[in-house]
Every structure is written in structure tokens, then in C-alpha cells.
């Protein structure tokens, strides 16, 4: 129902809307059913929730392909909650748009776009599927879009004489502060009423309220009121949450009754008749941790496990079932526990209606140390309206074992079904060291480089061993040359520093070289050595040179003035000429190599071609 206002009022209201941005506004759009049949109505609901009372125009009904728009109804509700001494209010405007489906298929419902204050709000696009009606369902909606949906069930009244009134009926005439009071508003009529649309709800001081039920159609029943027969249909059910003791007047509901047929011009505004509730104050002596729960509840408490690993969360679940002011109380904090981090309580409601159902409270408990711990039970207090006194529930305590974590404990969550029930708490940290990416650190690359070096070294050694295994002669020559170079280098250094160490170094180096290369013993005397080398077919001049050098070394070692500069220089020159002579004879003649770069097949198990 769209209420037309003069433009002047709109102009006056605009500056007021501009000062609204500070308020918290939440806009939600949804459909009652995601799948309907051709014989059902689609109800698209827009809810605007704010912490201040809003005064806005009814948003336009979205145009939905495949549907014909039928009607719109709006309602408002407010809630007042007193939680932990803080009074909070919230106001909700609800717009319900009714559509009739025209064909089957999947349809998209555009979101609402509206401006509240100086801010734009939008809701998400919704979808709905229309399916064929079951064959046994004969009821079809009238396709005339101008007929109100209420009229479809309104038959049997054919007179306009009589009266129509709204009566408010409480579930109970008295109650306690905080105890939800359900008020039902009925349309009583003995006229030919086509439809009724709610216009306003006038509120009074001393309570918060929320909508309990608002049927989309008027479903009449026969009743007797003041000795006369009436048709009665439920218009709305409200839940009031009294905040103060005393006599409270329930909201006055005003609406328009529209008559059917030729009498449709006789529309009539009617309001509910006044009704008061007697509200009693809660008795004194509230238990510690009382958070305002009033009603009849049964409680239970469970822990997810009695053994956890460090870093793994223990979940404590408290189940509160029954009837009461669920929207008016919250959970007290979990009892303090040393060496544990405890999350804020997380609430999950499974309510059949605003005052009846089950609330689950979840706490996540994170142990910080290993060992055995006693976890105390959770305490919850409420005012029991049936007994007229406070009650306190204390859950069973738990012997918890916390084990050290390991690799497997990280994966333990895989076997747990369900989503996390609550947010894990803060982690207490004395400091927050900067994250260091190990793979960007120098030591990471040093270790990798060491591995590569080790691989290179091992590879080289393996190559040498293989060479030795495959061709011992060639390997011996290689090592002999290395020895010769090594001793030549050492001897040169000794000679340059005028050290008498030159002679033993040069002598032992030459002997090692000859032993390695020509397989002669290092323990031979000089003549024996020369004789042995002669058998290896070394050139005679070279043999002479060897003999001269060795004799010179032996003499110089024991001769006075042997370490004289001139003597050392001569000996070094002799050694160099010897090395040069050996370098000219790289391979022994009996090793299978020939001069001139000719190829020769080596004897032995591993034959290979070599080239000089």
C-alpha cells in the first residue's frame, strides 16, 4: 500500500533525511520460497532495519518477468533490548510484494535500490523457479491483477450492513518484565470485506516489539462476539518485550478495510481497541552473570572432546531450549581460565518463532600449554516465569588432556564435519617479529651451494676412480705429472728463498714422479734407479741428466756451502731441464702410446682408442 503525501511534506522531509547517515541501516531483500508452483503466490520481502525510526516512501515494486504484480503490504516493528545494562533499540520496516506467476521457468528478481538519508542501498538479485502445479491441486489464482489476494478466500458474505473491528488478544494478561507477550490482532467482521491492509502501528512507552506472524491471506473462522456471529481472521501477531513494570498499553493497529463489489467505495479506516497488560517487576537478588533471560528453559552443555593437541580448538556448546525472550539476552562470558584463550560467544538460533525454540552458544577454547586441566562448567542464569524465581545452570566440568602437536594433528580437522561455529580468539603475542622468507636468506643459498660443491667434488673423485679403474697406466701418468709439478713448484719456492730444503724436496719429488710413472721403487740407489729406468727404454741423455741431478742433490745436502745461491740456482736449472726433458717424453714407450699422434689399441679388459 503506497501512501501519497503532499509534495510539500516531501520537501520538508528531505533535509531531515540528509542528517541520517550516522545511523546504522541494513537493507535485506529475500523471497519466501525459491520454488513455487503456478497456483502459488510469490512474496518478495524487503526489510529495512535501523537503530532510528525511519520515515521513507515505500520502495517501488520491482518488475519481474513472468509475473504479474498483485499487491504490496508494509509493516513496522521495533525492538528494545536491555543487555548488560545497555538499552538498544532497533526499528524494522517490512515491505511485502505479492506476485502471481504467469508461466513456468526460472526467473530473476531485480534487487531493490533505494536511498536512505544521503546513502544509496541496494539488495542482491534473487532468483525464483516456477514449476507446474501438482495435478490434484485445483486452486488457481485469479489472474486479474487488480484483485487483492485477500479476496480469494473471502466467500459467503453478501451484505454490507454490520460492522468491522480489530481486536487485540493477548496470550496472557500479565507477565514479568522481559517476558515476551504475544498479542494477536484479529479482524472481526460481519460485512462483505474484500481485503484489509495495515496502515500504521501506534506504539507506546515501556516495551520493545517484534513481528511474530503476518499471514498473507485472511483466513476466516466463525466466532461469536458479544452474542453475535462474526467472521474472524488473524491480521498480525506481535511480540512485546516489557521493559518496565506497571500497566502497559499494547500497540494500536490501524488499517483500511476494503469492501468488495459495488460497495468498494465504502472503504473504512479502523483501529484496534485499546488493551493493557499488567507487568510485574523481576524480584531482587539477580545471580551474578545474569544477562536478562526470562522464560522457561532447559539447558545442556557439551564439549567437543576431552583430548586435544596444542593449537587445536576445544568447542564448548551450550544448548538453551524452551520459551522465552531469545532476542533480549545474550551469553555471559566463559569462566576465566589460565593458560587458555577463549573466544567471544557465538550464538546460533533455531527458533520456531521469536519466542520458542533452541539457542546454541559456542565457545572456542585454545590451550596454550600441554598437560591435564580442569575446565569448569559454564554458568547461565535466567528468570523462570513458571516458578517465579531465578535459576542457574552449571554445566559439568571437564578433565581436559592437552597433548603436544605434531604433523598429524594439523590434519585432524579433516575428519571433523561441519563449519567452524565461532571465531577463534586473539593470540597473545609479546612481539611480532618480521616475517623472513627463508628462501630469500643467504644461508639458504649457501647450503644449496655447499650441496652443489659436494656433488662436484664427489663427481670429480668418482671420475678419477673410474679412470684409474679403466686405465691404470694413463691414470698413473696423470698423477705422476701432477706430482712432478707439485714438487717442482715447492722446490722452486725453496730455491728462491735460498733454503737448503730444496734438495730433499727436489730429490723426493723426482723419485716419486719416477716411481709413479715408470713403476720403479723409490728405495733404489741412484745407479740401481738409472739401471731400472734404462730398462724402460728412456733416452740415455735423460738417464744421464737424472743421475747427475740426483748425485748433485746428495752431495749438496751434505756439502758445506751446498745451500749457496749459485749452487741452488744450478740445481734448480738442472731440475727444470729435467722436467722439460720429461715433458718431451710424455708417455713411456712401453705404455702403448706412440709419438706423432698415431692411434693405438690399448690391451686389457677395457679397450679404448687414445690419441696423442
Amino acid at each position: 500500500m503506497v501512501v501519497t503525501r503532499p509534495k510539500l511534506w516531501l520537501l520538508l522531509a528531505l533535509p531531515l533525511l540528509a542528517v541520517l547517515p550516522a545511523q546504522a541501516v541494513k537493507v535485506v531483500g529475500y523471497v519466501q520460497q525459491k520454488e513455487i508452483t503456478l497456483s502459488e503466490q510469490l512474496q518478495v520481502v524487503l526489510e529495512i532495519n535501523s537503530d532510528e525510526r525511519l520515515n521513507i516512501e515505500s520502495p517501488r515494486a520491482p518488475k519481474i518477468e513472468g509475473f504479474s504484480y498483485r499487491n504490496m503490504r508494509n509493516s513496522s516493528s521495533s525492538e528494545t533490548a536491555l543487555i548488560n545494562g545497555n538499552l538498544s533499540r532497533s526499528y524494522t520496516l517490512t515491505y511485502s510484494y505479492y506476485y502471481n506467476p504467469q508461466r513456468t521457468g526460472k526467473f530473476s528478481i531485480p534487487g531493490f535500490r533505494l536511498r536512505i538519508g544521503n546513502r544509496d542501498y541496494s539488495t542482491q538479485t534473487l532468483s525464483v523457479e516456477v514449476v507446474d502445479s501438482p495435478s490434484n491441486q485445483s486452486q488457481q489464482f485469479n489472474t486479474n491483477p487488480y484483485i487483492d489476494p485477500y479476496g480469494s478466500s473471502f466467500f459467503g458474505r453478501n451484505r454490507t450492513a454490520g460492522e468491522s473491528l480489530i481486536l487485540a488478544a493477548p496470550q496472557s494478561q500479565s507477565g514479568y518484565v522481559g517476558e515476551p507477550a504475544v498479542i494477536s490482532y484479529y479482524l472481526y467482521t460481519n460485512q462483505m470485506v474484500e481485503s484489509f491492509s495495515t496502515e500504521t502501528e501506534k506504539d507506546y512507552e515501556g516495551y520493545g516489539k517484534s513481528s511474530f506472524e503476518q499471514p498473507p491471506n485472511l483466513k476466516y473462522e466463525q466466532v461469536t462476539y458479544k452474542g453475535e456471529r462474526y467472521q474472524r481472521a488473524l491480521i498480525k501477531k506481535l511480540v512485546l518485550y516489557p521493559q518496565v513494570a506497571g500497566r502497559l498499553q499494547v500497540p494500536t493497529l490501524t488499517g483500511i478495510v476494503q469492501f468488495s463489489g459495488v460497495y468498494s467505495f465504502l472503504n473504512k479506516n479502523i483501529s484496534s481497541q485499546p488493551l493493557w497488560l499488567e507487568v510485574n517487576a523481576l524480584p531482587g537478588g539477580k545471580p551474578a552473570g545474569y544477562t536478562g533471560a526470562v522464560g522457561n528453559f532447559t539447558l545442556s552443555q557439551t564439549y567437543s572432546d576431552d583430548k586435544v593437541t596444542q593449537g587445536e580448538a576445544l568447542v564448548c556448546t551450550i544448548k538453551i531450549s524452551g520459551t522465552g525472550n531469545f532476542s533480549q539476552f545474550t551469553a555471559p562470558p566463559f569462566p576465566p581460565l589460565a593458560k587458555f584463550q577463549i573466544s567471544e560467544p557465538s550464538l546460533q538460533d533455531k527458533l520456531a518463532n521469536p519466542v520458542e525454540g533452541t539457542r546454541f552458544i559456542y565457545f572456542t577454547i585454545l590451550p596454550s600449554e600441554t598437560g591435564s586441566f580442569q575446565i569448569p562448567g559454564f554458568n547461565f542464569s535466567w528468570f523462570d516465569t513458571s516458578a517465579g524465581k531465578y535459576r542457574t545452570f552449571t554445566g559439568p566440568s571437564l578433565e581436559l588432556t592437552v597433548k603436544g602437536s605434531n604433523v598429524l594433528s594439523y590434519f585432524s580437522g579433516l575428519l571433523q564435519s561441519g563449519k567452524p561455529k565461532t571465531l577463534n580468539p586473539l593470540l597473545e603475542r609479546k612481539s611480532y617479529p618480521a616475517f623472513r622468507n627463508f628462501s630469500a636468506r643467504i644461508w639458504f643459498w649457501l647450503v644449496l651451494a655447499a650441496c652443489l660443491l659436494a656433488l662436484a667434488g664427489a663427481g670429480f673423485m668418482a671420475y678419477e676412480r673410474r679412470l684409474n679403474r679403466l686405465d691404470p697406466n694413463h691414470y698413473a701418468q696423470k698423477t705422476a705429472n701432477r706430482i712432478l709439478n707439485k714438487y717442482l713448484h715447492q722446490a722452486t719456492e725453496a730455491a728462491q728463498s735460498m733454503s737448503a730444503d730444496f734438495y730433499p724436496l727436489a730429490e723426493s719429488g723426482l723419485l716419486s714422479f719416477l716411481a709413479k710413472k715408470y713403476f720403479v721403487s723409490k728405495g733404489l740407489t741412484t745407479p740401481e734407479l738409472v739401471s731400472a729406468l734404462a730398462e724402460k727404454q728412456l733416452p740415455v741423455p735423460l738417464l744421464k741428466q737424472i743421475e747427475e741431478f740426483l748425485t748433485h742433490c746428495q752431495k749438496a745436502r751434505y756439502m758445506p756451502g751446498g745451500d749457496a745461491a749459485e749452487s741452488l740456482r744450478d740445481a734448480l736449472n738442472m731440475l727444470r731441464s729435467l722436467v722439460q726433458a720429461f715433458s718431451r717424453i710424455r708417455q713411456p714407450l712401453n705404455s702403448g702410446f706412440l709419438s706423432g699422434g698415431r692411434k693405438l689399441i690399448l690391451p686389457g679388459r677395457h679397450q679404448r682408442e687414445v690419441t696423442k
Binding site: Q124, L337, N406, S409, L455
Partner: protein, 257 residues
């Protein structure tokens, strides 16, 4: 060979040590924290450029309790970007996603895929780096072992050990490279405003759907005004850049890494 028997035990102990270090708590619970105050004490650290998974995690918890779901999801994702094994951040992110009423949900994963992803997450960047080094050392040792293995003996065992180690080395090395790249160029972003419009094309003016604050998306293509994103359920669209915040902020043009 006998020494190799201790290898799994050694790795298990090492991993247990890591897990203990990474998940250790040192606090006393029971007192309801002042989230606004905690946030104010942590923000200067972040503004100074400090990167720490626990710091990001605690920021996320504070933001969530202060009603900023988008920022909360962003910091949980940042914590995971630094340490994918941050279990509390993972759970909190899952909790926020379970609160999402927009109906955009990631399809459930088969159990084995869940295990694989858990293993992938367990090996955070630094754990992978350490594991890669261990495998490099072990591979080097097994190469040396193989090279020095007596010729007269059958080489099957050292070859098998080396083969297995090299296979792990390649897998871990590849994953390390991939995680390093993701650490520096994470394409994930978070929707920062409730009811942010998602458009079918870059220039479309009519929204296809609206996203909830805190929805995690993957940026496929970044434009000047809008970015092409992929939602958790695999669908895609374009969203205004101002409504997104990246897990790894883009460096200003011209800056050097």
C-alpha cells in the same frame, strides 16, 4: 641403510617442533579483550610495514568484532599468505565465509582433494624452504653414496633411494617456486563493501548480482575502474576497484622490488 630408518622419525620430530612453535600460545584467557584498543596498538606495526602472520590474524579478529567483516577477511587471507599453515586464520576465514548469506559458496571438495589441499597448506613457504634444503642435502648424500657404492654390489637400493629423493626434491622445489610466486603476486582480493555490485561486463551499468562484504574473489584481469574477478563458486564478473582490496597490494608503478 640402518641410518636411513631414522629419517622419517627425524622429519616427524622436526615437523612437530615447527608445529609447536607455530601454534604455541602464551596467554591467560577469561578476560574479554578491548578490541578497539588492541587494534589501535597493532595498527602502527602494520603501517610501519611489519609482516607477521599472527599480527595479521589478531588484526582480523579485532576487525571482525568491530563489525568490519571485509577487513577481517582480508587480514586472515594476508596471514595465510605469509603462513598457509596458520590454522586459526584458516578456521576464522571459513567461519566468515559460512556467515555469507549471498549464497555464493565454493563447491564442496571431495575428501581426497581436501587432504591434498591440507598437505599443500601445511607446507608453508618457510617449511617448504627447510624441507627443500633437507631434501637437497639428502639427495647429495645419496648421490655420493651411489658413487661410492661397491662395484661388485647390486646398485638397486641406492638408485631407488636417490630416485625417490629426487622425485620429492623436484615436487618440493616446484611447489616452493609456486608458493614464492603466490606470496609475491597473490591475486586474491576481498570485497570491502556490503552489497558491492557485480557486473557482467566491464562497461555494463546494470548489476548482475550483489556481493557480501568479506567475499573472497580472485582477480583475473585488472582494469582502470573495474577488475574482472572469479567468485568462490566459479562464476565471474566485473567489480569496481574501489570496492576491492588485494591480499598483496600492487606496488606503485616504477618501484623496484
Amino acid at each position: 641403510m640402518r641410518k636411513l630408518r631414522f629419517l622419517p622419525l627425524f622429519l616427524l620430530c622436526l615437523s612437530a617442533l615447527w608445529t609447536a612453535v607455530l601454534t604455541g600460545q602464551a596467554s591467560e584467557g577469561g578476560v574479554r579483550p578491548d578490541y578497539a584498543q588492541t587494534l589501535q596498538s597493532l595498527l602502527p606495526l602494520v603501517e610501519s610495514g611489519r609482516q607477521n602472520a599472527d599480527l595479521y590474524y589478531n588484526l582480523g579478529v579485532c576487525y571482525y568484532h568491530l563489525g568490519q567483516t571485509g577487513k577481517a577477511a582480508l587480514y586472515f587471507l594476508r596471514a595465510q599468505n605469509l603462513n598457509s599453515a596458520h590454522r586459526q586464520a584458516r578456521d576464522n576465514l571459513a567461519f566468515i565465509q559460512s556467515q555469507d548469506t549471498s549464497g555464493i559458496k565454493a563447491p564442496p571438495r571431495p575428501f581426497l582433494v581436501q587432504i591434498l589441499f591440507s598437505i599443500y597448506d601445511f607446507f608453508s613457504l618457510n617449511r617448504l624452504a627447510v624441507l627443500f634444503l633437507i631434501l637437497s642435502v639428502l639427495s647429495t648424500l645419496s648421490v655420493i653414496w651411489l658413487l661410492n657404492y661397491p662395484l661388485e654390489k647390486e646398485h638397486g637400493l641406492p638408485v631407488l633411494v636417490l630416485g625417490i629423493l629426487l622425485l620429492f626434491w623436484v615436487v618440493v622445489g616446484g611447489t616452493l617456486l609456486q608458493k614464492n610466486h603466490r606470496f609475491r603476486h597473490n591475486d586474491k582480493a576481498v570485497v570491502m563493501q556490503e552489497g558491492s555490485a557485480l557486473f557482467a561486463t566491464a562497461n555494463e551499468t546494470r548489476a548482475a548480482q550483489y556481493l557480501a562484504e568479506g567475499s573472497a574473489v580472485e582477480i583475473k584481469q585488472a582494469g582502470k575502474r573495474r577488475s574482472q574477478v572469479i567468485l568462490a563458486d566459479g562464476s565471474g564478473g566485473w567489480i569496481a576497484n574501489v570496492q576491492l582490496e588485494r591480499v598483496v597490494p600492487l606496488k606503485p608503478t616504477g618501484s623496484r622490488s
